[in-house]
Subunit: 204 residues, 2 copies
């Protein structure tokens, strides 16, 4: 017996359901939505996917995804070229950008050191970061890596390589989230936030 | 400040987030997944979407979506052409097909009568159904419409049109779901299942 009355629909549903988090039912809902919309909707969607996959490259400077040799952030001369925020991946760049609290440049590692997943320092763009420190005029490096064992290991590894240079190395603050009740914070975070307590007037 | 380092990524995320139930964050996750996969993944996905949107038509017989003049179900001569299951939309055809309990043909109304949404009998393919009853050799019509006021209204409307013909008109059973505890069934469903009780030996 046939599940779909149309092979074209069946193919589209099967392709859509290969996307992460999209099951067969969601894929069918998306396909039927595309069928109901104007043809331009399907054309624009498809074109944007193919063009992105064909033309995106990695920025020669910061290793973030880019349309050209240098990404839009690295090419923006209004940004502070003396501060580099070291980050795991593109999603994290967007997360930091969304805060509007950072106006420097990035360096995207492409992952964190993880022996379990077989990711060592040479699989990440760490040597490229050292190259940048040698060539560019950098005042500060902010290590904005995940607050996990892997993130901490990677941060420490980079710190050891970088401390011989005459630059400031900082890391993002870890502690209780803004608006969070202390009783709901997990013990490790709350414990760390006490150990790393700061002068009261320093709080912003 | 720029949210994305790449305009191509930005465009793809914006197109993907126009799909129903896909927010900006999910769209970004999908786009980055597409970037990590082989180029064929993006090409196949896009091609399947465009081809579906370009080439799908409505079946001349049952009004379901189809690749040709007659859909795969209507063209399948192993199916029982004497029974028509009247159904709201394509999703419901797939739901019935998934049960493997029906081997007849379908008739897709394209909606149900709904004065609130301004959908009257003439907006649905009801006259086409009557045409089929006149032309084809039909023994039974199963009304498998939603168990809502709109579904019931539509079923009753069709029943009145069809009862003058010498065919059996049935409707799907409504009652307590298989595996459901009576205490969790809603009152109306439980009440109906008592009113519409059946001889015990009739249960399968």
């Amino acid at each position: 017996m046939n599940e779909y009355s149309s092979k074209l629909l069946e193919t589209a549903v099967s392709e859509l359901s290969r996307l992460p988090g999209i099951g067969k039912k969601t894929a069918l809902r998306l396909a039927l939505h595309i069928l109901r919309e104007e043809k331009d909707f399907a054309n624009n969607l498809s074109l944007s996917i193919v063009r992105m996959r064909e033309d995106i490259v990695f920025c020669s400077r910061c290793n973030n995804i880019s349309d050209n040799e240098f990404c839009d952030i690295c090419s923006n001369h209004k940004r502070d070229e003396n501060v580099i925020c070291v980050i795991e991946n593109t999603q994290d760049v967007i997360a930091v950008e969304n805060t509007s609290q950072f106006n420097g440049l990035y360096h995207v590692l492409g992952g964190v050191i993880s022996p379990i997943e077989g990711i060592g320092p040479n699989d990440l763009s760490i040597s490229k970061l050292i190259e940048r420190i040698n060539k560019e005029d950098i005042r500060e490096i902010i290590l904005a890596l995940p607050a996990t064992v892997e993130g901490d290991t990677t941060a420490y590894y980079i710190y050891k390589l970088v401390k011989e240079f005459d630059i400031e190395v900082t890391t993002i603050a870890k502690g209780v989230a803004i608006g969070e009740e202390l009783e709901y914070a997990d013990e490790i975070t709350l414990g760390r936030s006490i150990l790393n307590r700061q002068p009261f007037y320093n709080e912003t």
